[in-house]
């Protein structure tokens, strides 16, 4: 072994370097930031990388020199020195100064990162299993944002799209150049709101509000993911932020206010099973499909089947109760009363009883949901 082994190691290292050049199109560093703060983080990371590289080369330069020169097979006799107070003080004190040099810029960046004062606008972000709820506190806009990648792509039955797993049905829209304060909380378990290019990661904690902020410098689409394990669909709750011009943002807000859509209903009208079911299908697709599955087969025992299920084919009052208030027996079944409108609940319950292999034939009117809430 000996020398031959080490020359082999160096050949390998060289091969890795060469392939590193070939891998140039791959991302080997933090993504370029779209915020001034993100650039500061990027620079801080570069600084610490330079420092550790220099120390690494120095220390292991000594070690490898020693390995080559001070070996028995090279006839080197062992010296017997040990302990040297001067050397030991130097290698204790010098690192302290290096660390102080690092702590200074880190402290500056951190203080800036945590300064959420004087925002231009505030958005409350709520983590749900497994989607995000966004509420624009200044503009009175509120919606949910869930994974838009089709199940077929995940299961390998269709070709994966460009933004596989990083696409949502309704992205967050924010104006460029404005200080956006993000308040995070969660409805069920911990989540974390993470968008790398905006240099933002903040845990979302049920029962508590935390905050962070960003100020995007350029328009564009920025994608991130939930970063805190939140159950089985943790890998499937992406975040998409569209940064648009201030004018486009105003137009977008106006659009959101005019088209309240599914939430509105006519109290005088009696909806038919077909009307409710067709509206319910999309609600099911956003809120129910992750656990109860596209065909309604669920994943027993944790996520029961809706097809032929006791609740979905039993008395409708029980069905309404479990959707509104959640299950007392199974903590995985969340209470959807606060998340969905009367119309959405009526629609999805009717859908579940008359699709997914069920044909109970009854329906629920939005007015009945409203009555059950009181």
């Amino acid at each position: 072994m000996g020398l031959k082994a080490f020359s082999r190691l160096f050949c390998l290292a060289a091969a890795m370097l060469v392939s590193g050049v070939a891998l140039a199109e791959y991302r080997l560093n933090l993504k370029p930031a779209n915020t001034a703060l993100g650039e500061a983080v990027y620079d801080l990371h570069t600084l610490v990388m330079i420092i550790i590289t220099v120390i690494f080369v120095g220390v292991f330069g000594f070690m490898f020199y020693s390995i080559f020169k001070h070996r028995k097979s090279a006839g080197h006799e062992a010296a017997h020195f040990h302990e040297n107070t001067t050397v030991e003080i130097v290698w204790t004190v010098v690192p302290v100064f290096i660390l102080i040099g690092l702590a200074w810029p880190a402290t500056k960046t951190l203080l800036e990162m945590r300064d959420t004062s004087a925002p231009d606008m505030t958005i409350k972000v709520t983590g749900y299993q497994w989607k995000w709820g966004y509420e624009y506190l200044d503009d009175d806009v509120k919606f949910y944002s869930a994974l838009a990648t089709p199940r077929d792509q995940i299961e390998g039955n269709a070709e994966k799209g460009e933004n596989y797993l990083l696409e949502v049905d309704k992205p967050l829209v924010v104006p460029v150049g404005k200080k956006v304060r993000i308040l995070t909380t969660a409805n069920d378990v911990l989540h974390a709101w993470y968008v790398p290019e905006l240099a933002v990661k903040q845990d979302a904690i049920p029962g508590f509000i935390r905050d962070t902020w960003f100020r995007a410098e350029e328009t564009g689409t920025f994608r991130g993911q939930c970063a805190e394990l939140c159950g089985k669909e943790h890998g499937f709750m992406p975040i998409v932020v569209n940064v648009v011009s201030e004018n486009d943002y105003k137009i977008w807000v106006a659009e959101q206010k005019s088209g309240t859509g599914a939430a509105a209903y006519d109290p005088a009208k009696t909806y038919t099973v077909a009307e409710l079911s067709s509206a319910g299908e999309s609600v099911y697709g956003t809120h129910c499909v992750a656990c109860h599955q596209p065909g309604g087969n669920g994943m027993p025992p944790t996520f029961p089947a809706l097809t032929g299920g006791k609740i979905t084919t039993g008395p409708i009052a029980n069905h309404l109760d479990i959707v509104l208030n959640g299950s007392k027996k199974n903590p995985m079944m969340a209470a959807f009363g606060s998340q969905l409108s009367d119309m959405e609940i009526a629609a999805v319950i009717t859908y579940e009883r008359n699709a997914l292999g069920n044909s109970v034939g009854d329906s629920l009117q939005p007015g009945e949901v409203a009555a059950a809430r009181n």
Partner: protein, 524 residues
């Protein structure tokens, strides 16, 4: 100076399985710890390969997300509590009495009990996969309130952690008592081999940290079943409280694993450099400082929970400070090698591998200590890469070094040196193929604990998975080397390593007799 007894008590002990069930001999118990650890290492390794198979390419191919989460959870718990910790307790059992000139551990019967708690705990962890709903899919950190949603698998995991904690605490009390009371005449504290020092410090860490973990999981249990709300805001509790308690245990736990590894390396490097350890005293002080600091930095695992900025600053500064004693240790090891007369048998190779890669893991630790950078990298693959450099290339490589170093003393036979070197080179190459690329994944923003990922991460994940299979298969070679040595190894010379100068090499024959140092040696 020969302290060995002619009269061997081996005829007093039962044979067959009852020998192992009833044994109070530190060598037997050490052997059982080591085999248990290796078994768990294989089980946890298979789980790692299931994880890496699923991550070989984008999409869900092999397992469902909830099973994937169970695999990440059990892989972590089994490797930390079932593989690495028992391995070093195994070393402690074999080596501490021999290295301080004691006949056995202070409490031999408790020693037996400490070991025999492990198989039931390991079985509970494995059994949890087969109960309705499967095991806990919460990560080894078991953060509330996700733990509340789990099935009965979670309860089995909690009980397993309780039992493992009891075993560790008893083992630690035994080690502290042995070291403080049973050293041979003349062996002052500052003459103890560094491995003994590191275990003394580790045992105190365990006694302080394990009850905290027991408290955290007990609160989880009562929140789940008995209506308490420790971690539920709706009942006046706080989910973040769990994280504080967990990491108050969890950070010392990192050093519980690393410090005995430092101890092994501090024996091996001087032995193969044929030169005394540079700065023995400063090594002892550095180890003690690391141990104390380890209780003061826990919330650096929680930079994104929204602590006050003052707290973040404190944790950042305190964490950076750990680099100083850690640096002292690395400099000491390199200075020990400097101007030595080195040979590179397998133990030395693994020790150098440890030194090189553990330091790399330490450097990425410094990167992660910087709060603004950590906010970007927290809960990404960068962290996964970082702690595998410390846990695998650190603790595991050091354990390999220890096994190869002491195996001749334990069984009186040599391992196959050529195969040992193969084991080293395969391990270190595949380790880096597996984990080095994970730094890039983390920098690009791939979260940890996800069963599927976007296309930008595909290539590095594939490389990492290939490396993982290479690393896993290389460990079968280790098993083969062990079996070959035990069955048909060449007879070991009395002192196979020139520079080894601790009592087990200088005062005991090879292999070490079943009972050693019934009369203590005198240390000058």
């Amino acid at each position: 100076m020969e302290a060995v007894h002619e009269h061997d008590h081996s005829h007093d002990r039962p044979s067959g399985i009852m020998r192992w069930v009833t044994t109070t001999n530190h060598k037997d118990i050490g052997t059982m710890y080591l085999w248990f650890s290796f078994t768990m290492f294989m089980v946890g390794g298979v789980m790692a390969l299931i994880i890496r198979s699923e991550l070989f390419q984008p999409g869900l191919q092999i397992v469902q997300p909830e099973f994937f989460n169970q695999m990440t959870t059990l892989h972590g718990l089994i490797m930390v509590f079932g593989a690495i910790m028992p391995a070093f307790v195994g070393f402690a059992n074999w080596q501490i009495p021999m290295m301080i000139g004691a006949p056995d551990m202070a409490f031999p019967r408790m020693n037996n009990w400490s070991f025999w708690l492990l198989p039931p705990a390991g079985s509970l962890l494995i059994l949890s996969m087969f109960v309705p709903g499967g095991s806990a899919g919460v990560g080894w950190t078991m953060y509330a309130p996700l733990t509340i949603q789990q099935g009965m698998g979670m309860d089995l995991v909690i009980f397993a952690v309780h039992i493992l904690g009891m075993s560790s605490i008893m083992g630690s009390i035994n080690i502290v008592t042995t070291i403080l009371n049973m050293r041979a005449p003349g062996m002052t504290m500052m003459k103890m081999p560094l491995f003994v020092w590191t275990w003394l410090i580790t045992a105190y860490l365990l006694i302080a940290a394990m009850p905290v973990l027991a408290g955290a999981v007990t609160m989880t249990l009562t929140d789940r079943h008995f209506g308490t709300h420790f971690f539920n805001a709706a009942g006046g509790g706080d989910p973040v409280l769990f994280q504080h308690i967990f990491w108050f245990f969890g950070h010392p736990e990192v050093y519980i694993i690393a410090i005995p590894a430092f101890g092994v390396v501090s024996q091996v490097i001087p032995a193969f450099a044929r030169k005394p350890l540079f700065g023995y005293a400063s090594m002892v002080y550095a180890t003690a400082s690391i141990a104390i600091l380890s209780f003061l930095v826990w919330a650096h695992h929680m930079y994104t929970v929204g602590m006050p900025v003052e707290a973040q600053l404190y944790y950042m500064f305190a964490t950076m400070l750990i680099a100083v004693p850690t640096g002292v240790k690395v400099f000491n090891w390199v200075a020990t090698m400097w101007k030595g007369s080195m040979t590179f048998e397998t133990p030395m190779l693994f020790a150098i591998g440890f030194l090189f890669l553990f330091t790399l893991g330490g450097f990425t630790g410094l990167v992660l200590a910087l709060t603004p950078v950590d906010v970007q990298l927290h809960d990404t693959y960068y962290v996964v890469a970082h702690f595998h450099y410390v846990m695998v290339a650190g603790a595991l490589f050091s354990a390999f070094a220890g096994v190869y170093y002491w195996l001749p003393k334990w069984i009186g036979k040599m391992y196959d040196e050529t195969l040992g070197k193969w084991h080293f080179w395969l391990s270190i190459i595949f380790f880096n193929v597996t984990f080095f690329v994970q730094h890039f994944l983390g920098l690009a923003g791939m979260p940890r604990r996800i069963p599927d990922y976007s296309l930008q991460f595909a290539d590095f994940n594939m490389i990492s998975s290939i490396g993982a299979f290479g690393f896993g298969l290389s460990q079968l070679l280790f098993l083969y080397i062990l079996i070959k040595a035990i069955r048909s190894g060449e007879k070991a010379p009395e002192k196979p390593w020139d520079g080894a100068d601790t009592l087990e090499w200088t005062h005991l024959p090879t292999p070490a007799p079943y009972h050693s140092f019934e009369t203590p040696p005198t240390v000058k």
